[in-house]
């Protein structure tokens, strides 16, 4: 099986679960963030706990990756200013829209029209980042944004 097919299949499972759990509905996200429902936090906790245990087991047994054969390994990333600055921006967008990148995709999949402006904005945000990144690489002088724009090398594996 190619990694592309595997990525697609993982996406299908992810999309069905996000949809079935109600994460596509901003009302569900909002109820969670207002502490009116514990579902969002329990759901998130269940996902992190499961992934944590699974990754521990993988790291301990250290098998080669099933499809690519490469050694399974990762390095922890130390916090930098960009992790706080970026997450502040993201938190405002998430809090107001009740949608983050996964649910924006599942809104489109479910045919929810409100997902279109959010998705277009998200794509524009990526394009703006690409521009800022190439500019900070070209200029040798330190721009005000240089400290929060990671270079492709320093960027976390698959941000």
């Amino acid at each position: 099986m190619s990694t592309r097919i595997a990525g697609g299949l993982i996406g299908v499972v992810f999309g069905v679960v996000l949809s079935w759990s109600g994460m596509t509905s901003p009302e569900v996200i909002r109820e969670g963030l207002l502490f009116q429902s514990s579902y969002l936090f329990l759901f998130f906790f269940g996902a992190v706990a499961t992934a944590f245990v699974g990754l521990r087991l993988l790291k301990r047994s250290a098998p080669p990756a099933l499809l690519t054969g490469e050694r399974i390994a990762w390095e922890p990333v130390q916090p930098q200013r960009r992790h706080v600055v970026g997450s502040l921006l993201f938190g405002v967008g998430w809090g107001v829209s009740g949608a983050c990148p996964g649910p924006i995709a599942t809104q489109l999949g479910q045919g929810i029209a409100w997902g279109v402006p959010t998705a277009v904005g998200l794509i524009l945000g990526i394009i703006v980042f690409r521009r800022m990144q190439s500019r900070s690489q070209r200029g040798t002088e330190r721009t005000p944004t240089a400290s929060v724009i990671p270079s492709p090398v320093a960027a976390d594996a698959t941000a």
């Binding site: 996406g11 999309g15 996000l18 596509t24 970026g86 938190g91 809090g95 904005g121 941000a159």
Partner: protein
């Protein structure tokens, strides 16, 4: 009809297993922003040869479409706090503008922070990455504060 919400103790672990599968199959960190970025980067390079992450985004959209077909419709209760606040002519345009601005903040912010709710929040924390813990606390606290403030204002 599958309109009842999937219990968190089933849905959560299933998402966690997706993270494990991505690592076990191809030694990659699962992140939906990585998926969006792959599509944007590939199209910007005037190619259509999407990688596993690009295909993951298509899978997400397809999975949601399959769910909506089986469930008999989308799981969506509207944007109550926005549609109740802004009414009359121009309200729809205003909400579209607000969501568009939110999208820019989400896209730019997660790219700067190196991950979103899945990349940093889910995968990064499970990898015990200190940067992801800082990022997750920042976006959760920010989103909670913003939600409480907007709830108080409207």
């Amino acid at each position: 009809m599958v309109h009842s919400q999937l219990p968190w103790f089933i849905g959560g672990p299933l998402l966690g297993l997706c993270v494990v599968a991505m690592r076990w199959l191809m030694n990659e960190r699962l992140g939906v922003m990585g998926a969006w970025s792959d599509v944007v980067d590939t199209v910007a390079a005037k190619r259509l040869s999407f990688g596993p992450f690009g295909w993951m985004l298509f899978g997400l959209i397809a999975g949601a479409a399959i769910f909506a077909l089986i469930a008999g419709g989308p799981v969506f209760e509207g944007y109550g706090w926005l549609t109740d606040t802004f009414s009359g002519t121009g309200a729809t345009l205003l909400i579209v503008a607000i969501l568009f601005a939110c999208g820019i903040l989400i896209g730019l912010g997660t790219k700067i922070a190196g991950g979103c709710t899945s990349g940093n929040g889910l995968s990064g924390n499970a990898m015990l990455s200190p940067a992801s813990l800082v990022a997750t606390m920042t976006f959760f606290v920010t989103a909670i504060v913003v939600t409480f403030v907007t709830e108080a204002l409207i």
